[in-house]
């Protein structure tokens, strides 16, 4: 009985190894095949000029649009004749894109892309496990679980910043906050390592500055460790005890978990934080908010300018432009100035995580500001029919 179990174990280990490791063949791209893609959002229209219902649809639509439009200037000028063209579209459900033979940068390697919309994360991961799809985005917090279940996982460099921001309208008189001291006490109370280790399952990095270490090279100069003792000292100086309503996106489970964790940490420092789910149109009801900022460029200067523009609208911070050819020192000083205001409290850096089937080749996780490079991937498997011509 024991032997049989060992036999089964040995055989099953072999099968697991066979399925878990991607197949290796030679490297030059092959043409042909249909790439199956699943996304969580439901995209109602591919017209780039029409508005979207939420940020998730917006992000997904941007990715699909990049496949079918030749983007001349992002968000302003588009022409058709992208690497793919739409051959079928069911609003909010599915889209089929076919390779454009005369695309100016070369015909994509795959013949078509079949996009299924509205698939929740759990089902996307299951479909990856069952080889029912070739490509899907995975929430960072689910990446470890997916990898443990045999899904081939690809991660970008961390380029999305989850940040707590105090809104522009929050004035000490109105809310009873003693300004910078309350914000500093809250910032010092947050245990970022716990957010990364437990909520994100070690996916991502604690953030102290507004740029990740790989981009700026100076992120290590910003502390990411909690200082509960100093936080308590600061909050003790404020009477009455400060109360903060912290908003998070009602459809974002990660933001919810982080907001709840912040409330626990803040309580230790005698700051009362009340997490509250909010919809986009009701953002103004909270004192502070969790938001996600995605880097629009790998360049530290460009990324920081993009962030400061977004943050200026919410927090009222002055969006001073960096000098031309800003040096690393200029960039660091600008970051330091923003973070020292405690109106912006960086929390964690998140990578974008993708699940891939074993047959997807030449996949490179897109960098900051880049789109899914699906025109560059190719599918391992039987060669396209044309390639057989010479054998006849």
């Amino acid at each position: 009985m024991k032997r049989r179990r060992l036999l089964l174990l040995a055989a099953s280990s072999a099968v697991v190894l066979l399925t878990a490791l991607p197949v290796k063949t030679a490297r030059r791209p092959r043409y042909g095949g249909a790439l199956r893609v699943e996304i969580g959002a439901s995209v109602s229209s591919l017209d780039p000029t029409l508005p979207t219902a939420n940020s998730k649809e917006d992000a997904a639509k941007e990715q699909i649009d990049a496949l079918i439009y030749d983007v001349i200037e992002p968000k302003t000028k588009f022409t058709l004749n992208g690497p793919f063209h739409v051959t079928a579209f069911e609003s909010g459900k599915r889209a089929v894109l076919e390779a454009t033979e005369d695309y100016r940068l070369g015909r994509p390697f795959v013949d078509s892309i079949e996009i299924t919309m509205g698939r929740p994360a759990r089902e996307r991961i299951l479909d990856l496990e069952l080889n029912k799809t070739d490509f899907a985005e995975i929430p960072a917090e689910d990446a470890r679980r997916a990898a443990e279940r045999g899904v081939r996982v690809s991660r970008s460099q961390p380029d999305e910043l989850l940040v707590l921001v105090f809104r522009r309208s929050v004035e000490p008189k109105k809310t009873g906050l003693a300004g910078a001291r309350v914000r500093e006490a809250l910032a010092l109370s947050i245990d970022r390592a716990a957010i990364v280790n437990f909520i994100l399952q070690k996916e991502g990095e604690p953030a102290g500055g507004l740029l990740p270490q790989w981009s700026s090279g100076t992120a290590f100069l910003f502390s990411t460790t909690a200082d509960a003792v100093h936080a308590k000292e600061l909050s003790a100086q404020i009477v009455p005890a400060p109360k903060i309503v912290l908003g998070y996106d009602s459809g974002d489970s990660l933001e919810q978990a982080v907001a709840e964790r912040i409330a626990v940490d803040a309580r230790e420092a005698r700051v009362q934080v009340t997490p509250q789910a909010v919809k986009r149109e009701l953002e103004n009801v909270t004192d502070a908010r969790l938001i996600r900022l995605r880097m629009q460029s790998k360049s530290p200067a460009a990324a920081l300018e993009g962030f400061t523009d977004s943050l200026a609208v919410i927090t009222g911070l002055e969006a001073t432009a960096l000098p031309d050819r800003a040096s690393p020192e200029d960039i660091y000083n600008r970051e330091r100035a923003i973070v020292s205001s405690y109106r912006v409290v960086p929390l964690v850096w998140l990578p974008r995580v993708y699940g891939l089937s074993a047959r997807v080749r030449d996949w490179m996780a897109p960098g900051a500001g880049e789109f899914w490079p699906l025109a560059d991937v190719w599918l391992d498997g039987p060669a396209e029919p044309a390639s057989e011509e010479g054998k006849q």
Binding site: A10, S13, R27, R28, F109, S215, S387, G390
Partner: protein, 437 residues
Amino acid sequence: MRHKSRICHPLQYAIALAVLIFSFQLIPTQIAHGQTPSTPSSQTSDQRVASPALPTAWSDGVKALAAKIAAAAKPARAISLEIKNISSLGPSDVEGIRKALEAELTSRGLRLGSSSVQVEVTLSENVESYIWVAEIRRGDDRRTAVASVEKGRTPNTTVTRQSVVLHRDLEWQQSRPIMDFLIPDVSPDGRPLMFVLEPRQIVSYHFEGGSWQSSGAFQISVPDHRPRDLRGLIDLVEDLFSFQMSDVRCDGGARRYFELTCSKNSWPAWPVNAGGEERGSVTMVQDRNYFGGDLAVYGEIDVTAPPFFSVAVMNHRDWADWILAELDGKSRLYEKSSKPVAEYVGWGDEIVSIATGCGTDWEVLVSGRGDWTESDYLQAYGTRHSASPLAISDPVEFPGPIMALWPSVDGKAARVVSKNLQTGMYEASKVTVTCSQ
């Protein structure tokens, strides 16, 4: 004993099977691990073997940082200095920087030792450059100084093993894609000459003052839409150059001036070179990245070839055989006919034959497996045992995929275009094969 052996028998089979399958899966993985790109540490260490001084950019960085530290430390005459490394620099690099920084600070009148002014230097890096940061603390006062330093180039590498030595010389690197490059043996004015074929132009360079200087460019009129995996090749027979790409070809003179005639969308035959002035020919399949159909090799052999990515021709006195790296990931050996006589697995898509005279007639250089997201290597195989060619060198590593591999004009070396995944630069290298001792 027999009883024990009988009990273990099925289990041994199962374990053996599992180990066998595991090994099959691991072989490429191990190779991939062996392809770890050269780190800046090895790069700079290698550079320093030839020259004990720091690279100029590093010396400049040290000077800039020292100046900032000295300014921030004033009026103190002594500082304590600590250096921390969180970049990809290796210990020998860090030691070199530390010594240079200490010397620079001392030359600025600062004494190093215990002091109330503490300076902690962190060697960091970002996506663009090395970032060297000094934190200067004096009591509660804390200042920060930053210097950025350009990252260096990939070194030349030599790999010795078994019966041949592979040596890679990095000739040129640039951010724009390189299709192929060529350094003719002789130039009209005696100055070394190099041509770099890019997707839309041919650029000529002359070697002057220790580096290649651009001396001319020829713009190529190209079709509106082009293959995504565009391929290119430069060939030279006597004084006639041929600059070939998937969808356009330019022929003519180029030694003194560009006197080229180009034809686009004509899908002309590509030359097949195995040394000497004789050329075979092969045709690229339209809008694709592979060849197929008519293949002419030496000894007046014309065959219909299956689709393939690259060919290695072994030209003998009165006959030739050839290996095709085919689309199914296997390479096959052919002798005089369209029927393969041997099949090789485990090779990449880029192969080229080199005549070195190291005991075997020809060596075949073979790229690694994987895809364009991984590092790569070239390894030499002997062709004497045609049924199962043996690796006769260690792999020479490339920090990114090999995009093009062609024989040199004399057939005794290989031209390699690769993409460095660490720097994003396209690198043109010459790989030579010499007999080991």
